[in-house]
Amino acid sequence: MSGLTPLLVDSLFPNGVAHYALGGLLIGLGTAIIYLGTGIIAGASTFLETTLSYVSDLPRFNKAKYVASRNWRVVFTLSIVAGAAIYTLTLGGGEWWVSEVQPWRFAVGGVLVGIGTRVGKGCTSGHGVCGVGSRSRTSFVNVATFMLVAIGVAQLLQALGVSP
């Protein structure tokens, strides 16, 4: 039994769990700092619509609370990019990294993510991190839904031989 547990852990987490857990804590900490200072629950996907208000007259993107938050959301997004760059230059050992996932997957997946997050009122950070943290039933339903569908779709593509 004592020999089986490490084996199981190895097969479920072939790359260990430390950097996952620590990274997760920092993601939560970043969100928590913004909440404590401002009372705002900062999800990542609202940036898409608020930024569209700079270039589009559609009423959907020009809701008062979108226009009022669009500038700081640009700052928030650029800070996320910078934070990841700082990681790369420090703990990441200074090695830049480029994905080998096929571009069509980014294009098609990106469009669906853009539609889905806005129709569903949030994404992995808004619902997955903040909503679940708030014990929101709406967010639990949203997360369970996208998790199951994503697992099904990813495994279907894998079965069809799409890799990476």
């Binding site: 913004i34 709406t138 990813a154």
Partner: protein, 154 residues
């Protein structure tokens, strides 16, 4: 309160929070679509620790802040649960989002961070997200327009 009325402290808080958030996405490897796809294909369950670790922190901090009954110092917004209402869009959106996440292995926050680790092809995904958000806004506008026309015809 618009951005212009908010002070330097507000912006600094957003910057510090965003930097830590992005650093965490880099450290947890969520900025790498391959790692997310490994989770979805059951090859590496590490993502559970990322989402779980983050939700434990936000859950604890949100609950403690709410218990104080105070307001956020920089905006005066009170610490309370602002739960999103439930309707069928939450499920429909979840299905569409899940399909996109399963195809690409990328979600908005991780996509921004992905750019920061040097993954320039992710610009295709970010462009796609803007297009998707725009199409959704266009569709909602059309629907509202036809609904208005429907009522005025009565």
């Amino acid at each position: 309160m618009s951005d212009g009325e908010r002070g330097l402290g507000f912006l600094l808080t957003i910057i510090v929070g965003g930097l830590i958030f992005g650093f965490g996405l880099g450290l947890s490897n969520m900025a790498r679509p391959e790692v997310v796809l490994d989770f979805l294909q059951f090859d590496d369950f590490g993502l559970v620790f990322v989402m779980g670790g983050a939700a434990v922190v936000t859950g604890t901090v949100f609950a403690l802040a709410e218990a104080t009954g105070r307001r956020a110092p920089l905006t005066g917004i009170d610490y309370g649960r602002r739960l999103k209402s439930f309707d069928k869009n939450v499920v429909t959106g979840g299905v569409i989002f899940g399909a996109g996440w399963g195809i690409s292995g990328i979600c908005p926050g991780a996509a921004y961070a992905s750019l920061g680790v040097g993954n320039y092809p992710i610009l295709v995904a970010i462009g796609g997200m803007f297009l998707g958000a725009y199409l959704q806004g266009l569709w909602r506008a059309r629907r509202t327009e036809s609904a208005t026309r429907g009522t005025s015809a009565d």
